[in-house]
Amino acid sequence: MSAATTRHTSQGSGVVQVTGELIATRRVGAYHHLTFVAPGLAELARPGQFVALAVGGDTSATLLRRCFSIHKVSPSGTYGGTVDVVISAVGPGTRWLSTLRAHDEVDIVGPLGRPFPLPTEPVACVLVGGGYGSAPLFWLAEALRERGCHVELVLGAATESKLFGVLEARRYGDGVSVTTDDGSAGTKGWVSDVLPDVIRRTSAAVVYGCGPMGMLKSITDVATAEGAVAQVAVEESMACGVGVCMTCVMPVTGNDGATRMVRSCVEGPVFRGDRVRWDAFVDGVCRVPADTVGAPRVGGH
């Protein structure tokens, strides 16, 4: 089958389920960059949204979908609309995806989740990516610049090979800072070491972040201290990506001041950083804060 097909989606629901045909796969540092023809998806997608890919084929024993930020979309490419994702091959699902070859097919659901909110005024923005968490930021940078925003990027990783898109960043941003834990590229240290200066120098009003949860917490802390709003795309493991499995929840405080365990797939993945209850996350576990609506009483559930 050369042309991918859209199927079984209610009209106007803002999401499609398509058989995506892989048309390009390439190594980028420690990651794999995949391009799929995915008709109908590109036209609906916004920066910050994600796709859920089925892995292993129709009879795979690996049932759960793998969710990835959309790196970019091309609504009218040579092959029809395409969607690009960047993956890190660390488990059975992502390893399977990394071994796919051109013309292989993957069932794709998307676009999913809420996109990054864009400012209505042309304010300065700082975009912070950790590792391949930077994947959705270039497309976001483009959208912000179209609105007249000054855009700076801060990219951080453990080591040089785990950075993603440093060269691209110079094209998409008005300024780029790079940090690595081991000093193999850019400034030695964390993104939070350079972020305060970037925010002050640009008088940034919004800091966008995508990467590991610990990094998103520190981005939020720095942004708040500098008087900027943090908008972060969280990383939480999801089984379905479409809001039915309830596995990707996290404690987030709503407009009414109450904390609820909300699904990062449908209520997120982008949250205002200061609404996330970072205090609940410790060592890979997120506990339910005691003041959460419906929290377990003494003795647990």
Binding site: S13, T62, V242, V244, T247, C286, G294, P296, G300, H301
Partner: protein, 314 residues
Amino acid sequence: MSVRLGSVTLPSPMMTASGCAANGRELARFFDIRELGAFVTKSVMADPRSGRGTPRMAETPAGMLNSIGLQGPGISAFVDKDLAWLKQAGARTLVSIAGNTSGEFADVAATLRSSDAFDAVVGVEVNISCPNVANRGLVFACDPMASAKVVALVREQLPRDTPVFAKLTPDVTDIVGVAQACVKAGADGLTMINTLLGMVIDTDRLRPQVAGVTGGLSGPAIRPVAVRAIWQTRAAMLEGRLPTVPIIGVGGVRNGRDALELVAAGASAVQVGTATFNDPNAPVRVGRELAELLQDKGFERLTDAVGVAHGRLA
């Protein structure tokens, strides 16, 4: 493919499985939920519940383990928002209810009964077998007496023509004994099976992988257990040890052939659970595949295939 479940006739035997489909809006983006025989909602309890912390999930071979902890809005918000939405969407709704005590089950049923959207309800599924509640491992459905008490109290709260289904766990020595107790207490049918209690250890950190320590195992890996449980219960009906009531089969159904397996063992209707996480269209796709298979095999009605394997022992 129409099917009669107690006093209710449904145009299709296909249903979502409780806890695998949220409460309607999410899957309505993918298919018309009126295509289902019934939309089965996530088990609702009396009060709002946050559920457990995370991680709540571990992938397992051909399945997954979950420890969600019955997160939900509580019955009042459920009837006002979710059930009202399902009614407006025209969905036939099988409402799954749960409780920490048998009295709580009855209270939830009473609130449901008195709601404005009750006419969208085609039945109530009594979840006496969720492994993610307080006395985990000691769920109501492990004890025939406790099961019967819950079913009887719920039955009292609902109109006679609203079918009550008891959802059973396979984690018992004698599932037929529990089924007998439920039917005697007034259950119009049985849903089997719920998840199996399981556990996964993270071998990098050498600690339990889900925050709830243990969790419910689901997915194709448990389908043979579902087939066995349905078979044993249907056999007891055929032998006259148990009144004949409809069985709703659930457990590891991913395609039409899987659904047919449950039907041949004795199920009159089929729920699709974890497969929905893999394919949001699975509940309706499986129905189409099942209809084709039945036609290919010469069955004019689904009813003719229910339990057919019992007469064909190898």
